[in-house]
Symmetry: C2
Subunit: 340 residues, 2 copies
């Protein structure tokens, strides 16, 4: 490995001078600058990142932990994160939390140990308490995404899950549906709870009785969406619309519906959540909720960088979802024409 010493020797200067031209710090005569540069060139010198970070006490990188790498959602997120980080001239280091709270915590620790300037945590599993503990214990600024930690709200970039679900179900109701089934994402997660709550709230607001037999607890997978929808179909509880708490499960459910000889949307209307890339191309196109994950991750990164440079964080409004209406929902049995 060719080090700064080699370069300094070759250029006939001291290591300090090489360091200066490398970092553009201090004054250095143009002619010696050139000498140093050509020496670096000739030797194929590459600064040692670790050594530099150690001395600098900053690795010029920001860490990102996602709960899992799987799914279109995180691909979308990572892509954007990577670009935004680079636009700040920093390096992004990503790790996954293997979809368990313990691993999520470890991942953050590991990034902190690597001296990241700031860390962004997208957690699905850690408790609010565990998150606070982390914020207090690691000496690296932490930004939390997809979670509203009340004691540290300015570090949180999150999304109005409940309200978005509420809107979706209310839309279904406005279309004349009253018998609306629901397949949830894991209720152990705040996201799962919030989406289900949105469903309940909408029913309640419109005076529709809650019927336990119409809601099934899913696990976010297509397979489970399929199975649970089959169960729903097999039960004697009828429904004219199904609210699947994510698009993957909606897709699985659609298969079950077709196989049962029913049609979408004529027999059963279907609403998803997340706006998966495929949603638009399914037949019929899947109505769903768009989550501004791109904007959110950009915001999170910007804030992480502000924290890293000790800038104050301006307050931030929660993000909201947008209903994306396509063809998978049609008028239900109770539909009344607006003019009526």
């Amino acid at each position: 490995m060719v080090t700064m010493r080699d370069v300094s020797a070759r250029a006939g200067v001291s290591k300090a001078t090489v360091s200066r031209v490398l970092n553009g710090t201090g004054q250095v005569k143009e002619s010696t600058r050139q000498q140093v540069f050509s020496a670096m060139e000739e030797l194929g010198y590459r600064p040692n990142f670790l050594a530099r970070s150690l001395a600098h006490r900053t690795s010029n990188s920001i860490g990102l932990v996602v709960s899992t790498f799987d799914g279109f959602y995180f691909g979308r997120l990572l892509q954007q994160a990577s670009r935004q980080t680079e636009s700040h001239g920093k390096q992004l280091i990503v790790t996954d939390g293997h979809d368990t709270p313990e691993r999520e915590r470890e991942a953050v620790q590991m990034l902190a140990d690597r001296q990241c300037d700031a860390i962004i945590l997208y957690t699905r599993h850690m408790s609010e308490q565990a998150i606070m503990a982390l914020i207090d214990n690691i000496n690296v600024p932490l930004v939390v995404i997809n979670r509203d930690v009340k004691e540290a709200r300015e570090r949180c970039v999150f999304f109005e899950q409940r309200n978005a679900a509420f809107q979706a179900v209310e839309y279904l109701i406005a279309q004349g549906h009253r018998e609306i089934a629901c397949i949830t994402v894991p209720l152990a997660t705040p996201t799962g709870k919030a989406r289900l709550q949105g469903y309940r709230d909408a029913l309640e607001k419109h005076g529709i009785a809650w019927d336990e037999s119409r809601v099934k607890n899913g696990d976010s997978t297509m397979t489970r969406g399929y199975e649970l929808c089959q169960a729903l179909l097999a039960s004697r509880t009828p429904f004219s619309a199904l609210f699947a708490c994510n698009d993957d499960m909606a897709l699985g459910a659609s298969k079950a519906i077709y196989q049962a000889g029913r049609r979408i949307p004529q027999d059963i209307s279907l609403f998803g959540f997340d706006d998966a890339p495929s949603a638009r191309w399914l037949e019929p196109g899947l109505s769903t909720v768009y989550l501004p994950i791109d904007t959110m991750i950009v915001t999170a990164i910007d804030r992480a960088i502000m924290l890293a440079s000790d800038q104050p964080l301006p307050p931030i409004a929660p993000f909201t979802g947008t209903l994306v209406l396509r063809e998978s929902v049609t008028a239900g049995p109770h539909y009344r024409h607006p003019a009526a």
Copy 2:
């Protein structure tokens, strides 16, 4: 930041001893071990990863660069990569190449500068020559995935793209299709070329004339699959089957087919590539090619680690795809019953 010095002071020993208990190297009396441990505990000491790596001359991490984070495919890959790396007790650092050759190169450089013990490169865009240059210039072992670099074959983990495409198209032919359209993935990539070549080879083998008007160059996106299929449908060149060179485009194409009032598979049979998670749940289920990306990345990581520890690399056979037959293909106009 609490350092080893603090711990050593607190425990009343030297830094060296602390280092010993930390790394389990050398002999340390049990009693002092305990002292050191409790000192670390009380102070909340965390070793500085950078400093340790600098001294060790190994960061105990392996780097992975993917051409992009987008798509289900890389999610699947990253997930597996992360697990496999950890099972070796190393840390995985991933970066994306923004889907351009220069960025892919830069990403590798950056990982090398960070002193990764080994690097795995999944490139879609770099030339074979550029890859070789990289192998020669960085002083970190490199494993290449999804590419067959002849001068360094033992470092390559790749997949028989051409043959898999060949099999898919031959299957279509066996089902009685002779007018088979094709939508490619970018022909600027080796993958794109290989899959198209497989299509050509199959036609040729079965004496079917190549018809330029039946093949369209796609870009891998659902949108483009939709558009190109529309174009195909609008042209006067008929086709009874469509070979889409990835599942995303197949999905887009399916929408175009439905919108044109045609049915799958009764009017047009459809074959994809990649076995996207959704393929199985579409209606009808999409026949496609499964690519053993999980196994491939595991192999790549194992080999990267072998390289990092100077073990010799055993030769490796190219991976092969598997046809996943579902319902999107049916007998074509030229189908002859096997018994006939």
